[in-house]
């Protein structure tokens, strides 16, 4: 009870990685190749990842990076070329989908057109041979949970996209799987509905306590919903962490650029002491920044500074990098400034608009772009 309240109380963006809880799904050095010979496609390349019990885990990456393939390997529709898939500690690599306590919400929903809403939801339980009374009870419960009681006896073709989505969710949750797999379930919905369903999905996950593995290419969606995120690219998992870790401590260039917007700067290394490094930016600005674990930097490193951490000041008042405003985009909540540094590098700053209306710069203004030292992140090369 205590835990349930605590979890419900955490803000959606809390990203509380449930440390200490056991691993529910594990991919051990899983590779999946399609085709053979010259045309072989390495959809997954020795991917290892552990998904903890009861967490909302997201696979995030651009189209074609292997997210669906990993999901299908967990569901059992594909079998790994190498490596193993473990569920709750047991190797399930050889089991067919119908022997895995794992259910999928398909991107296309894949509702059975010849069955009613209630029959769709009860299908899994019926296949498991549960008694009729129990099935009826669970179906009623599920219909209530996804707020579709009124649609009980409808044909699925009579439902809207959002309603089909709810039925697909109820159908996958009804057998109470250990893991629920969701492959871009919201991508077919319009923006408003998508936002609603994000909240809805999060609520369902909290209510049921089932481990969710959610696939998306939308970083905003991933940040808003996940306990932890695995960022994928070209068949590899690049980083696994809470939304905060991923956003604030991106492991590499790809993660930094894929999650949110960011500025990349080249900095000269002045000296290293312990886990810290002294950097010189733009020839003038000296900052100290933390080094990623075990990194031994060369003569120069790449650092990232998020646009919302940049501070713009008058050229003579600031202590930052001298720059010229090259473009201004007013967006209501904030204003985007594009800046050009003396060396020709481009910077992008996001400044929140204040009620009193702060200083505003115009194209061509000579300014200074500064940032607190804590905003600087050194990337691994």
């Amino acid at each position: 009870m205590q835990e349930a309240i605590g979890r419900a109380g955490t803000p959606i963006n809390g990203g509380s990685a449930q440390s200490g809880s056991r691993v529910m799904v594990e991919a051990r050095a899983v590779s999946k190749h399609f085709g053979s010979g010259e045309q072989v496609v390495k959809a997954l390349d020795a991917v290892s990842v552990g998904i903890r019990e009861g967490e909302f885990f997201t696979l995030l990456g651009p189209s074609g990076c292997g997210k669906t393939t990993l999901l299908r390997l967990i569901a059992g529709f594909e079998h790994p070329t190498a490596g193993a898939i473990l569920l709750d500690g047991a190797d399930i690599s050889g089991l067919p989908p119908f022997r895995r306590p794992v259910n999928t919400v398909f991107q296309s929903y894949a509702l059975f057109p010849h069955l009613t809403v209630a029959e769709n939801i009860g299908f899994g339980l019926e296949m498991l041979g549960r008694p009729k009374a129990e099935i009826a009870e669970t179906v009623a419960e599920m219909l209530q949970m996804v707020r579709m009681e009124a649609m009980r006896d409808r044909q699925t073709s009579q439902l809207s996209g959002g309603q089909q989505q709810r039925v697909a969710l109820a159908r996958a949750l009804a057998p109470r799987p250990k893991v629920l797999l969701l492959d871009e379930p919201l991508s077919a919905l319009d923006l408003k509905l998508r936002k609603e369903m994000q909240v809805e999905l999060k609520r369902l996950q909290t209510e049921t306590g089932i481990t969710f593995v959610f696939v998306t290419h939308d970083q905003g969606e991933a940040l808003a919903m996940s306990d932890r995120i695995a960022v994928m690219s070209e068949g590899n998992v690049l980083q696994v962490g809470s939304p905060t870790e991923i956003y604030e401590h991106p492991a590499d260039h790809f993660v930094a650029s894929f999650i949110g917007e960011t500025n990349f700067l080249t900095a000269a290394v002045e000296g290293v002491d312990g886990g810290q490094v002294r950097l010189r930016l733009g020839g003038t600005l000296e900052v100290r920044a933390g080094l990623p674990d075990g990194m031994a930097p060369g003569p120069s490193v790449t650092v990232v500074v998020r646009p919302e951490h940049l501070r713009i000041a008058d050229r003579d008042a600031g202590e930052g990098l001298p720059a010229t405003v090259s473009d201004v985009v007013y967006l209501g909540t904030d204003t985007h400034y594009h800046l050009r540094l003396a060396g020709g590098e481009e910077l992008f700053a996001r400044v929140q608009n204040r009620p009193e209306g702060g200083e505003a710069w115009r194209v061509g203004d000579a300014v200074s772009a500064g940032f607190p030292p804590a905003a600087v992140r050194v990337l691994r090369d």
Partner: protein
Amino acid sequence: MAGPAAPALAPARTGETAARAARIRRNWLLATPALVLLLLAASGPLLVVVVYSVLEPGEYSGVVWELSGEGWFRVLFHRDIFDDTLSLADAHLTIFWRSASISLLTTAITLVLGFPTAYFIATRPPTQRMLWLFLVTIPFWTNLLIRTFAIMEVIRNEGILNSWAMKLGLIQAPIQILYTDTAVLIGMVYVYLPLMVLPLYAAMERLDFRLVEAAYDLYASRWRVLTRVIVPLVRPGIVAGSILVFIPSLGAYVTPRVLGGGKNMMISNLIELQFGEGRNWPLGAALSMTLLAFVMVALLVYVRNMSKVERRG
């Protein structure tokens, strides 16, 4: 509001209506020859058959224009030529029964054989499917009679099947298959199998295989996926294939004639006999009408049952 606009629009609309009417008239005109032909070709012979079935048989062939119920009567009853005693026409009943059972068996067997075949083709990559379909239709390239004689060559006592089985030591003496109901059945299954595969394939090609995955995901074993998802979804193909096989099976002539060897007749052979050696056209006509009634009743029962199954889900 519409007042001022109406007069301006009215002439235009009338013009459009007139053009449309003219177009429809022209289309009807173009369709008329075909419609007349269809009407004559379908109803003309049927009418002739209906009329002949209630006339007296002629001495050697043809009919005598005198009303008589004898043709219909003889479908079911036999009148002894010497003492006029009546008995059930056992021979006719046997032939009806054979026709019905062989046709049903042919439909069932082609369904069982055709279903996995169609599934196999539908699950090939799209580029390969055409090749497989092409292979299925190859038998249509040769004349039915030739194909039937080919079957005969395979199953006759000195044929490929028996001589190989004997060489392999499976049997000591040849098994008599030719001129049995089994031979007719084998021939019919062979001839009508493509008619089952094609509509089944058409239905399976449209099947959303993601639904099959969804069913596997929801703990359905392979058998349950077949019976609970695939079969209900390809039901239109099953219905179409069964009708396409059953109707021509019931009226099959060449296959029972060649492989049944004249002894193992089906309805069509019996009908032909009445118009030929039997010299009883009214009986032949009445038998034709009986066959037609068979087909209609069978279709009605089948479609009724299928839609009942559909409603039950």
